[in-house]
Amino acid sequence: MNLLLCGVNHKTAPVALREKLACLIPDVRGAYDHLKGWPEVSECLLYNTCNRVEVMCVSEAPEEAAARIREFFARHPEITPGDLEESFYIHRDQAAVQHFFRVAASLDSLVVGEPQILGQVKQAYREATENRATGPILNRLVHKAFSVAKRVRGETGIGDHAVSVSYVAVTLAKKIFGELSGKNVLLMGAGEMAELALEHLKGQGAGKITVANRTLERGVKLARRFGGEAVSLEELPEQLLSADILISSTGAGEILLTRDQVKGVMRRRKQRPLFLIDIAVPRDLEPAINDLDNVYLYNIDDLQEVVEQGWQRRRQEAGKAERLVAAETLKFLHWLETLEVYPTIIALKDKAEAICRAELKKTLGQLGPLTPEQRQALEVLTASVTQKLLHDPIIFLKRNRRPRRPHQELDLVRRLFNLDPDRGGDYHEKE
């Protein structure tokens, strides 16, 4: 029994190829029907995100299964075998488990530590179970992967550091104001990044939103989208009296707000803190504003710098996470190994139980009438004798899992207890 993980991801395949492969998946049911049709694959899980298309499966014949999956990928009319040549990877056993854990823990993502991937894997697993494609091994693997991902998130700071400009703005605002609820936001100009930041701030409960724009018309449009009000740019200093956060991204090309203006505003604001975010290039706000007390000015370069720091921290934390994943991988492999001995243990127990039952029946027939207590005492006696006798062989099987010749030992136990009566003679011929 082998674990096998094949697929392509953002590191090996260009986006064009990943897109085409992802097209194979939308018909999940069809894909699973196809995969389950192969005798080589006993359990499988299929998942795709924007950065990867992968198949995880359990197989008795990994070589053939890998070839099959490759064929499955090559089914797409626009994909030639040459496309897959360089991008298709096959991980087996330990590498497969480790890769899967890394994917779930977001260590293999383009944005390391991003939280969405776990949800995507969960969704894929739900689809797989709906199609009855997974079995005991993959079920356990997937649940382990979820718990590994949870531990990575909880025990390392991999998701703690903001790595996008708009999110950095929000975390900064929180460090300045504590709570964002009731804090008013003034948006100057518009742009994708500014709107994203505004979106984040609203999500954190920001209060009134005001949009100041050169053309009032466009301002009104934006304000309506965010449920705020529109004002003209001339009212800027007045508006700053009631705002707490200013996001500026006009294309004015000149300084719209000077240090002296802000200084005057601060006096009238009774020094309530002001957070100014200038993402315009060229800048809208005079850099010297940052020298004022209780005013915090960040321009796009400052924010990018923080983003870069966030990346560095994430990379450091990823190192910790990798060690955690490696340890959990070994644990899972160990469980997988013990899995092989279970049929033998069950056979042993079944045999003992059968003997007990037969002997009890014989004895009870000879003893004549017994009270229920006496009868129970006999049953307990026989059960505990066999249990104690089997205890050591079972422990031997479970614990001694890294012998030099694992299968021979397993065979020895099976022969010793004659668990395969039909095949009794085969062993001698084989050896």
Binding site: I176, F177, E179, N290, Y296, D302, E305
Partner: protein, 277 residues
């Protein structure tokens, strides 16, 4: 046996120090929670130690520098626990706990002279004077520690270099609120302490103000706090300036407590309180 409770207190405060440092480094909520309980336990034993002293002396133990430290440590820890309960600025524990531990150690290390306490130091109004002053000190000490944290955090945010402290310290607004709250509580207490002290001085020495170094320094500190409070309420001073003034004010107060006793002489200095055998 005399110092049994004190050693227990010391152990608790050092334990709490360790826990809060661990909390500060690892950011695990559990350490903070246990830290609060250890600190509260320490305060309970500390209270017992104080009661024991009051019992044996017959008045509030504030006649020697060591005793004053013990009293101050008690009010500081009590004020801190009250604060943590109302508005959790958890990292403050990493500053308060070691400070309390050091002060209690000071009590144990410093000579503990025995002897009758000068009659000048007994009486109801004097007890009120000491209590108010010590409680004021505690609140203003917290304002100072909060100010230190504010300055560190503000520097991180203004300087745009987000290091070790940025993530671990609370937001600026929380720290500024701490400053305001401690000031509005500590300043009236200190004022009350000064008034009762001068009334008592009028009663016993016949004059309100003796130009004693401790009195002068305390008055300077009081003025600093008065300016800070006024500007806060009138003009809206806050943030960096408020933090700086709170630190300055408390440094002057520390001078009155430590310096006035070690370097300066005056009738307030502890050495004169205990009459030789």
């Amino acid at each position: 046996m005399h110092n049994f409770f004190l050693y227990l207190t010391l152990m608790a405060y050092f334990g709490a120090t360790g826990l809060w440092l661990a909390y500060f480094l690892a950011q695990r909520e559990r350490y903070h929670r246990v830290g609060v309980w250890v600190m509260a336990g320490g305060l309970a034993v500390h209270t017992l130690a104080l009661i024991q002293r009051v019992w044996s002396i017959g008045s509030l133990p504030a006649a020697t520098f060591g005793q004053a430290l013990l009293l101050f440590a008690w009010t500081l820890v009590a004020a801190f626990l009250l604060l943590i309960w109302r508005s959790p600025i958890k990292v403050l524990g990493a500053l308060v706990a070691p400070l309390a531990a050091l002060m209690v150690s000071g009590t144990l290390i410093l000579p503990q002279p025995h002897g009758p306490v000068s009659p000048l130091l007994q009486g109801f109004w004097l007890t009120v004077h000491i209590c108010l002053t010590m409680l004021g000190y505690a609140a203003l000490a917290l304002a100072c520690l909060g100010g230190v944290l504010y300055l560190i955090q503000e520097r991180q945010i203004k300087g745009k270099q987000f290091g070790f402290f940025y993530r671990r310290l609370p937001s600026l607004s929380q720290l500024d609120t701490l400053n305001y709250r401690c000031l509005t509580i500590g300043f009236p207490l200190l004022t009350g302490g000064i008034i009762t002290g001068s009334l008592y001085a009028q009663h016993t020495l016949g004059r309100f103000f003796s130009w004693d170094p401790k009195e002068i320094l305390t008055l300077i500190a009081w003025l600093i706090y008065a300016v800070l409070l006024h500007e806060r309420l009138a003009v809206g001073w806050r943030g960096r300036r408020a933090a700086l003034l709170a630190i300055c004010g408390f440094l002057v107060l520390v001078c009155t407590l430590v310096g006035a006793n070690l370097w300066l002489t005056g009738y307030h200095s502890f050495g004169k309180f205990i009459q030789g055998p």
